[in-house]
Amino acid sequence: MEKGDRNSSNRSRFAYGLLGIVLAILLWEIASARVGVSLILPGPAEVAASFFSLAKTAGFWVAVGGTFRRVLVSFFISLVLGSVTGILAGLYPSVQHFTAPFLTIIRATPVMALILIIMFWFPAGHVPVFSAILMAYPVVHTGLYQGTIATDRTLLEMARVFRVQRKTVFFRLRLPAIRGDMASAAKNSLGLCWKVVVAGEVLSQPSFALGSGMQSSRLSLDTPGVFAWAIASIMLCGLSEFLLGLVARHLQAGGSSDE
């Protein structure tokens, strides 16, 4: 695609996205006016006011930092662990057979049940992290496993005929071949980590957490406050996905260097 076409396409995408947001806010305003009770459904203006007043407090930013840290820790651990086992499972069927029952159980377990069980085992601050790892790890594992087994057999065959060393095949053929799968798995798992970490915080109530703030607003019947915390969580998730997208694009563009 030409640069001019791409800019035009980006502008059009942005315009449609903005239109969607405006429409959603409009519908929200109409629904809120119809309900007429702030405790049940506050309007956008009320929530925005609550959000800005919250953002002025130090506690909000400390909570944001705490949740961000938990999300990053759970994301990186599930990414590394899922990548290693996913690739190994793609290379060696015995690893896939070994991990399959565990992954099936994890996938079938409801998030809330998992968080409640983990609450028996770990301190409050660790519950969201472990819950998110357990939920995000299978996503990464499966993505990388699928990518590894789908690696172009004809290229692997070519490398075999020319007796290319296994290390070179792994780093210069297999890994670049699954870059797209890795980026996709990372994006999916990051979104999941945000959802599970916040859910885990709501239930386990650690110090310095968005989820704890949300729960505390709920207990004091501050519905605009709950919405404000939720909006903060959505914005942070969007921001981290955007940053991850930039990193993934940078990695994809820089994968063709010489030896």
Binding site: L155, V161, F162, V164, T168, P176, S256, D258, E259
Partner: protein, 239 residues
């Protein structure tokens, strides 16, 4: 080293018998074309020789200790690497990296792709990609060069260009070459000898030596009309 030979090769894929008691001699430092109809088992034969698949029976003799270059029907270039990096990828197993790089650049230049060394394969035409694949096969210092219908997926002009490129590169390093094709003209233009195969399961129905120098041949084969007619008769009689 003596000529390469395979003896008594048999291969089945389930119920389908592809090769049955196949034996042949491939003279050293010469180009042998294996000519046969599509689906006769020519690629299977090359893959057995290269060690990519195992034969059910028989022996690949001294091919077992040989090193191979392979130019496939499709170029099989890594799409995320430049053309030069694709060649360096296969050269990475060589102990002397500088020697490998020098050969890669030299054969790329011979193939007329010097200016495209840093281009990605997606930026090249089909014919140029196939040239890069051929340059890669020649750049890798193997004992045996295998070509699997390496010129069949391009138009006639590009095909003749590729065949001429092959002859030029081959003259620089006369490597034992096995070239499978279903195209009689390609075989007559390139080969020192032609092994004609029957339909599946493949068996040898004729072996022809071509005495005429490659540089004196024309692609239409009019200067080899006697051999051409003989091969046509063999192919049609066994169709």
């Amino acid at each position: 080293m003596s000529d390469y030979r395979v003896s008594g090769i048999g291969k089945r894929f389930g119920e389908l018998e592809v090769l049955h008691d196949f034996s042949a001699i491939f003279p050293k430092s010469s180009v042998t074309a294996v000519l046969g109809p599509s689906g006769a088992g020519k690629t299977t034969l090359l893959n057995i020789i290269a060690g990519l698949i195992a034969a059910d029976s028989g022996s690949i003799g001294n091919f077992g200790s040989a090193s191979f270059s392979y130019s496939f029907q499709e170029p099989r270039l890594l799409p995320w690497m430049s053309v030069l990096d694709n060649i360096l990828f296969v050269m990475s197993s060589l102990p002397d990296r500088d020697y490998g790089k020098k050969r890669a650049k030299s054969f790329l230049a011979e193939a007329g792709l010097h200016d495209f060394a840093s281009s990605m394969p997606s930026k090249l035409s089909g014919g140029m990609r196939q040239k890069a694949s051929l340059a890669r096969a020649f750049a890798f210092p193997s004992d045996v060069l295998l070509l699997d219908e390496a010129f069949s997926a391009v138009d006639l002009k590009v095909r003749i260009d590729l065949l001429d490129l092959f002859s030029k590169l081959w003259e620089e390093e006369r490597r034992t070459t096995i070239f499978v094709t279903h195209d009689l003209h390609d075989a007559l233009y390139m080969a020192d000898s032609i092994i004609v195969l029957s339909a599946r399961p493949a068996r040898i129905i004729d072996t022809v030596s071509i005495g005429q120098a490659r540089s004196d041949r024309s692609y239409d084969g009019h200067d080899l009309s006697a051999i051409k007619q003989r091969l046509y008769r063999q192919i049609l009689a066994n169709d």
